[in-house]
Symmetry: C2
Subunit: 351 residues, 2 copies
């Protein structure tokens, strides 16, 4: 299997199974409690009036990766609950993130808080986090000890996601130039907020399948490095991507003055004069014009930020691919794991 | 043991142990991640600058009841994690409730969202919900199967709390006179939002101690009926209590037009003219004056709401006390369980 199209076709099988499981889960809930309807809406199983509907509800990347790995390393039927729990958790974070960021649209549809208000979105999101544990405990194909170990591991990773969200607030609230606004904080933030959940999705598959601890660690590193590469790639696209292929407006992260890696790296590398110029744009209270952001882009490009970001993305992608080699799979399956890395990163660039 | 003072002294032992466990738990967290500091502040272990401090952080009623029952029915040391998890969950709901209700003060101190903003309060609250599961899984004195059964049961009850919060929104958003604004919805709401967590605190103690299912059910009913009596009592106090003894302003629930049981009962009983008058006050857009609320109180008293509420509180209190008799405890301990009911209800009236 070599092409991105093949990888996408492979993932589609797993995401379909997860969607079916999720749909049944929401159908099993009392329909008069519309809180569950909000969640079914968000996942793509209902329209704004909570009537059944099938609409795109996300790639289900984390859960599909998890289920694929369970399938390859053990027995596919033992993985559906754990994979679904990871997907529910990821979407729970998005429901609350949309409130926090004030985002009114997600996947082209109004967000939960936009439709039903912030109180409902907080409470329905909380319910979805509880459903993560409801689903985790359902799995009766695993031993009780393994179930507890899995639940314990996932809880640890989930707490890291909350810590990552906290660090994201810290970066947003501080000013460029403050000591906390550093590459170190950025890496800690994306590792917690993004990469640790992908790492969890991969490692937990190994726990379900009962592979060795060495292999579990390889799975973790595969997911972690894939997640870091993915996030840096996303940050690059949010500056240099165009709205045609990303769905975001051009220079979106610059217009919002986000302190992502390209900015932090450039700030380190720039001359004193360049630093002052960048600080001027980033720490002024005024809205940035398109001309301003073009000037910022010029500053970034003057210290070869794009080349450095490519080098870093490549570095983490390579680390992920190398980790894949420590997982006991056929050469062809290992190769597919490597292709998943390229397909995911290519997908970010294409939008 | 007969007096309320004795019951309070008894509870103090357990709440102290829970506080100590909670404090250590928060101390074990990375101090640079101030998200945990927000939670320690809310629980009463830190001041606004996140410096260590011991201040009143709530009665710890649910967790103390749980730990007391574990102590009496089995081995005290096996109950601390489960009791703490119940306390963490209860306080998690309060952190998010304060956002939802826009409340700026809790226990005389600024709320989390008031100090650190809504995004932090959402995220830190989420972290506290995850800590519920972190603590639950820590307990290594229980069998793996029992741990899973406990976690499953608590998750079911926690989801009911979220359903109760949803029903509370429904009652708030609908108008008095709408068919959904009924005693049935009210009872379902308080059962889910309040009573099911007290029921859980009691039953889970029996699960930890390994008592029979019949006794577990008696514990559940004890907590459930206690919770219902407590909530009706609280609703009565929020109308007829004075700020001197409740800490709330006089007639607080009427000024906020809350659709609690006294209102719903009166609306059923009033003549057509009385109904119209009550609707006039409840469904008008204008702020209610003190004279208005006195008129509402007169309407309520014209159909003997106070007497009916006393009858109902007494009914659920008696149900709780009767359930206590089905738990295998000495006569003196059963008697204490009955006194707990009176002490809690008396405490609501005293504020």
């Amino acid at each position: 299997m070599t092409s991105s199209a093949d990888v996408r076709a492979l993932f589609a099988q797993y995401s379909e199974e997860i969607d079916e499981y999720l749909k049944q889960l929401f159908l099993s809930k009392e329909s008069s409690i519309e809180m569950y309807g909000h969640l079914a809406y968000f996942m793509g199983f209902a329209d704004e009036d909570l009537r059944p509907q099938d609409i795109y509800g996300g790639k289900r990347f984390r859960s599909s990766l998890c289920l694929l790995l369970v399938d390859w390393l053990g027995e596919r039927s033992t993985g559906i609950e754990v994979a679904t729990a990871v997907e529910l958790f990821h979407n729970f974070t998005l429901i609350h993130d949309d409130i926090v960021d004030g985002d009114t649209l997600r996947r082209g549809r109004p967000t939960v808080w936009k439709l039903w208000g912030i109180p409902h979105a907080i409470n329905s999101g909380d319910a979805q986090l509880l459903m993560v544990y409801e689903v985790l405990q359902k799995n009766d194909k695993l031993s009780a000890d393994n179930k507890i170990a899995i639940s314990q591991f996932l809880t640890k990773q989930y707490l890291k996601v909350a810590e990552g969200q906290y660090l994201d607030f810290v970066l947003t609230e501080a000013k460029l130039g403050d000591s906390v606004v550093s590459e170190e904080t950025y890496y800690k933030m994306i590792e917690c907020k993004t990469a640790d959940l992908i790492a969890a999705a991969a490692k937990v598959a190994g726990m379900v399948a009962g592979v060795s601890e060495v292999e579990q660690e390889a799975l973790f590193q595969y997911g972690l490095n894939l997640g870091i590469a993915y996030q840096i790639c996303d940050d690059v696209v949010s500056i240099w991507g165009t709205s045609d292929n990303t769905g975001k407006r051009n220079y979106s992260d610059l217009l919002e003055r986000k302190k992502t890696l390209p900015i932090l790296y450039a700030y380190e590398k720039l001359s004193r004069k360049g630093k002052e110029k960048l600080l001027g744009y980033y720490n002024s209270g005024e809205e940035l014009s398109l001309e301003d952001v073009r000037e910022i882009v010029e500053l970034l490009e003057s210290v070869n930020v794009c080349e450095e970001m490519s080098r870093l993305i490549n570095r983490y992608a390579t680390l992920a691919k190398t980790s894949a080699e420590n997982i006991s799979l056929s050469e062809s399956k290992c190769n597919t794991l490597r292709n998943i890395v390229d397909t995911l990163l290519h997908g970010v660039k294409k939008g």
